[in-house]
Amino acid sequence: MSVVPAAIVAGLVGLGVYLLLQRTLTRIVIGVAMLGHAANLLLLVAGGPPGRQPIVGRFTDADRAAGAVADPLPQALALTAIVISFGITAFLLALAYRSWVLHRDDEVEDDVEDRRIARLGERELGTLARWWRRR
């Protein structure tokens, strides 16, 4: 296996994770797409070294055993994965657009209820601290 595809996969994953950690949805979408590319490339690399012909029919079993034919299965898998990530990316973009329509912004907000409960906890801690100081 050559180092180049592995390095490209690593680079794409790094880029994807960095973009995923942003707060705006458009960057997240690009990040997800990068991660998807990395996964698909990895599938191809898993199929064996590059440069071999992908057609099964013209070869004898001996050729196949000698590794003259590229493995078609990872390519089929990668194609399926590409189609799926295409559909989901379109859905994510629709979500981002809806978010922009609703509040002119595509930033992902916090969980409101969770923050309310966290504030409740802080208030209780504050009461406890005041009680402790008074003693």
Binding site: L20, L25, I28, V32, L35, G36, A38, A39, N40, L42, L43, V45, A46, G47, L73, P74, L77, T80, A81, I84, S85, G87, I88, F91, L92, L95, R98, S99, L102, H103, V108, E109, D111, V112, E113, D114, I117, G121
Partner: protein
């Protein structure tokens, strides 16, 4: 050929197409959806009977022989899961039709719901790792639409988190499949089970842990659960109910399947037991802090996942049998709890504990259905939760893992406590929010919920009661399922035709 295996996947998909064409007529869509899910359930029951009598069943899609083509395969565990899941799907569908406003303005509800059903069925019967990924994507794509259906502000907010987390998990899944294929040259699970033994220990452990991470995100086990209580409560109640009952359990199913088939340990796995304990404790503590029925129950989903992982982590026949039985009990119970939440929401107008109150006099049916399901969840005998927890606890004691057994019993107590909190807040006392329908109607008047909602909830609660009553035979089936899981020779032989 064994068409029974393919029908629970194919029927809902065909019906989804038909329901899309019939988008103008809600009644026609309803008939198509109910008929398709009921027919799938019938096939699943027939499949269970057949698997029980003749052992593992399999079918090769397009008649391509096993390691190359896609295999659909059902052993006792998949068949049991399929029956319980489809029964739950049917109950929720009836509930959704009954609840005003769920499908009325949403022509896409029925098609998408049917696609979700097909995805769940496919992930239970597939015998191919990549096909499992496709099944997950089918399920998830449908769930993305369902969770954001309506496009309200809070739905978009939490829907984004849900979609992105699941997308990342799916990408990791593809990467895991790539690694598995690079290491073994196959993605067929039965073929993998035979080939994975030849791998070096390090590679095997890495693959096992990576798959655990992928399915752990879907199943919401301890460090990976944070997305669930945030996103589930924002959807419409029937949607939350079906997600709560099925999606995480399909994740657990995949964990059980891959860990037993590919990485058989045959001794207690410390990693799984620690994760199980933390999942239980953190989930239940999160639930206690919440103040809304839907959110409390969402945290309990996480907590109960811990019990299933506990059973698997023991890696004994008794432990895995306990896990199987517990999953079978959880699917209807969790869904029934969310359906009663839907009844509360429908009759009172809110599910916040500090706004609603006194529903036991106003809607006694909802109250008693909640009571039965909640007691079952907490594990009070003679209900189904007791049977499941008893099997797990005795398996844990049998494997001499006393610490985790203690933790699980303590968490049961906390579960009971938080169910009591809901009971006190919603069903006893008086309503505190004058803006609610509860207060605006005259005090003595019963708040009725539509008949179909009642029928669906009662049906599902009866199913959980039946799981308790037939606990003995079901436990025997679970033990047989667990034996098959831990010694997958019959499974491998059936798929590979040897």
């Amino acid at each position: 050929m064994n068409a029974l295996l393919a029908l629970p996947v194919a029927l809902p998909l065909l019906a989804a197409a038909l329901a899309t064409v019939l988008y103008r007529s809600r009644p026609a869509q309803r008939v198509v959806a109910v008929a398709a899910v009921a027919a799938s359930l019938g096939c699943a029951v027939a499949l269970l009977v057949r698997v029980e009598a003749d052992g593992v069943q399999s079918v090769q899609a397009g008649a391509w022989p096993a390691p190359i083509g896609i295999t659909l395969v059902a052993d006792l565990f998949s068949a049991l899961m399929l029956v319980v899941s489809l029964a739950t799907v049917l109950a929720v569908l009836v509930f959704a039709i009954g609840q005003p406003g769920v499908d009325r303005d949403q022509p896409v509800f029925h098609p998408v719901y049917l696609v979700l059903t097909a995805g769940v069925a496919q992930s239970l019967v597939t015998g191919d790792l990549f096909n499992l990924f496709v099944a997950y994507e089918v399920t998830l794509a449908a769930s993305y639409v369902l969770i954001t259906l309506g496009g309200a502000r809070h739905q978009i907010r939490s829907g984004m988190t849900y979609v992105i987390i699941n997308l990342v998990a799916s990408t990791l899944f593809v990467i895991a499949i790539g690694w598995v294929y690079a290491a073994t040259g196959t993605v067929n699970m039965a073929d993998l089970a035979a080939k994975v033994g030849a791998l070096p220990d390090g590679v095997r452990t890495a693959l096992g842990l990576f798959l655990l991470l992928v399915f752990g995100i879907k199943a919401a086990i301890f460090p990976l659960f944070f997305w669930l209580p945030d996103s589930y409560p924002t959807a419409r109640t029937p949607v939350t109910a079906v997600f709560a009952g099925l999606l995480t359990k399909v994740g657990v199913y995949s964990i059980v399947r891959t860990q037993t088939l590919l990485f058989p340990e045959h001794r207690p796995s410390t990693v799984l037991l620690v994760l199980a304990g933390l999942t239980m404790v953190v989930g239940v503590l999160g639930a206690i802090a919440q103040n809304d029925m839907k959110r409390i129950l969402s945290f309990h989903i996480v907590s109960q996942i811990g019990y299933m992982i506990l059973g698997l982590g023991l890696f004994t026949v008794a432990g895995v049998a306990g896990a199987v039985l517990f999953i079978l009990h959880q699917i209807p119970v969790k869904t029934a709890l969310f359906l009663t939440t839907g009844m509360v929401e429908e009759s009172a107008g809110s599910t916040a504990l500090d706004r609603v109150g006194g529903l036991i006099r106003r809607n006694p049916l909802a109250a008693w259905m909640f009571f039965l399901a909640a007691m079952s969840l907490a594990g009070i005998p003679p209900l189904s939760g007791f049977v499941g927890k008893f099997a797990l606890v005795s398996a844990g004691i049998g494997a001499k893992e006393h610490l985790i057994v203690g933790v699980s019993l303590f968490v049961s107590l906390l579960t009971l406590f938080s169910m009591t909190k809901i009971w006190n807040g919603v069903f006893w006392g008086t309503a505190e929010d004058p803006a609610l329908r509860l207060r605006s109607s005259p005090p003595g008047e019963r708040l009725r919920t539509p008949v179909l909602m009642n029928v669906a909830t009662v049906g599902l609660v009866l199913l959980t009661v039946a799981i308790g009553v037939f606990g003995g035979p079901l436990h025997e089936l679970s033990v047989r399922a667990a034996q098959d899981l831990l010694e997958p020779t019959a499974y491998v032989a059936e798929v590979l035709g040897r």
